[in-house]
Symmetry: C2
């Protein structure tokens, strides 16, 4: 809650809103450890020290709680990863920042690493609204990488011969595996392996550097 | 069960062994859909049409059942992926076959894709024997890729300047993401993206082709 209080919202939040924010933060952290399916109202009530009936008043059902948690995690991801990256001046800078912000988020975001990697692998075989939402978010992230590659191509920093879908897949592959291995082993070396892979891939995609003298 | 009967073992299996084999196959399939944690003795009893007490006679506890299922999945992976690949004549051929056999296994192996990708992402934050085993298997697979890269380097088909750990990470990254996206979307294009990525990476790792005339 201290972290939430550090942010000064435009208008004063009601107790209800503040409490909802704190509950969803706890819910998102729990989901990366116990799974979205392990996010029962009873278990979350224990974790936040509220009554089950109090939580029901907020969310109504387990599925509503799960969907609200996913939305909260999307907002956090926008705040920590995509938002700051998209503020960069060029496509190539945005791409570098998407990667770097993601890898930092893997370490500092949740106890179980990337929330979306966690839910997409959990929900992939369970048809329903949660699965659809998880797949939609994963698709959206890949499309953001593709669009950013295309912008860098339009600016001439990535070769026109590259297929944006293919390049986005390769960047995401290194980030995704780094997340999985970091959560499983807590070995920072895997994050560096992703950086090395992505730097080399983007250097190859850029083609030969422009001749700019010795400066 | 028909598939199990198609294999003729060296000695006739007892009813007990045959039934154990059939139970574990069903258990492994179920685990890739419901998770290893969803693999309760009650749920599996329903799936195989046995009594809970009958299953208890085989496994004794949920954890024993889960560990036996992991061992069974290791055996299947050896049969379908690593075994045939390691029979190839050269390091480079072994590497190509590890990749191709893995991608074929993703499509044809289990309803939930790669068993080990499934359990490592489920168990990564849950300390215990299952987590340790999942991490150990994942490490073993990466080490197999590294060793095979090193063999190809010794044979001169991969440049000595490549770091086997780094290259193994990059090959696995493409395979891992292809598995996740295929299970989530059933889109075969993601498997081809992994193939394109890996072929290009291995071509770059090989350095310039040897000059061998026009044949």
């Amino acid at each position: 809650m201290n972290r939430a209080e550090g942010v000064r919202p435009r208008k004063r939040r009601s107790d209800g809103e503040r409490s909802r924010e704190a509950i969803l933060r706890q819910a998102a952290e729990l989901a990366t450890v116990a799974g979205l399916d392990g996010l029962s109202i009873g278990r979350l009530a224990d974790a936040v020290g509220m009554s089950k009936s109090g939580l029901f008043a907020h969310f109504g059902s387990k599925e509503e709680l799960q969907l609200a948690t996913v939305d909260w995690a999307v907002d956090l991801f926008d705040t920590e990863v995509t938002g700051p990256a998209l503020a960069a001046a060029t496509g190539r800078e945005r791409l570098d920042e998407l990667v770097e912000n993601f890898l930092r988020h893997v370490v500092g975001g949740y106890p179980g690493g990337c929330f979306f990697a966690s839910i997409v692998t959990e929900m992939d075989t369970r048809p329903g609204r949660l699965r659809d939402r998880a797949v939609e978010i994963m698709r959206g992230w890949l499309e953001l990488l593709e669009t950013t590659v295309a912008q860098a191509q339009a600016e001439g920093t990535i070769a026109a011969s590259e297929d944006p879908k293919q390049l986005a897949f390769e960047l995401e592959a290194a980030m995704f595996l780094a997340n999985v291995l970091f959560v499983a082993t807590r070995d920072q070396a895997v994050l560096d392996r992703a950086r090395v892979a992505i730097d080399a891939r983007l250097a190859a995609a850029a083609g030969p550097p422009p001749s700019d003298g010795t400066s």
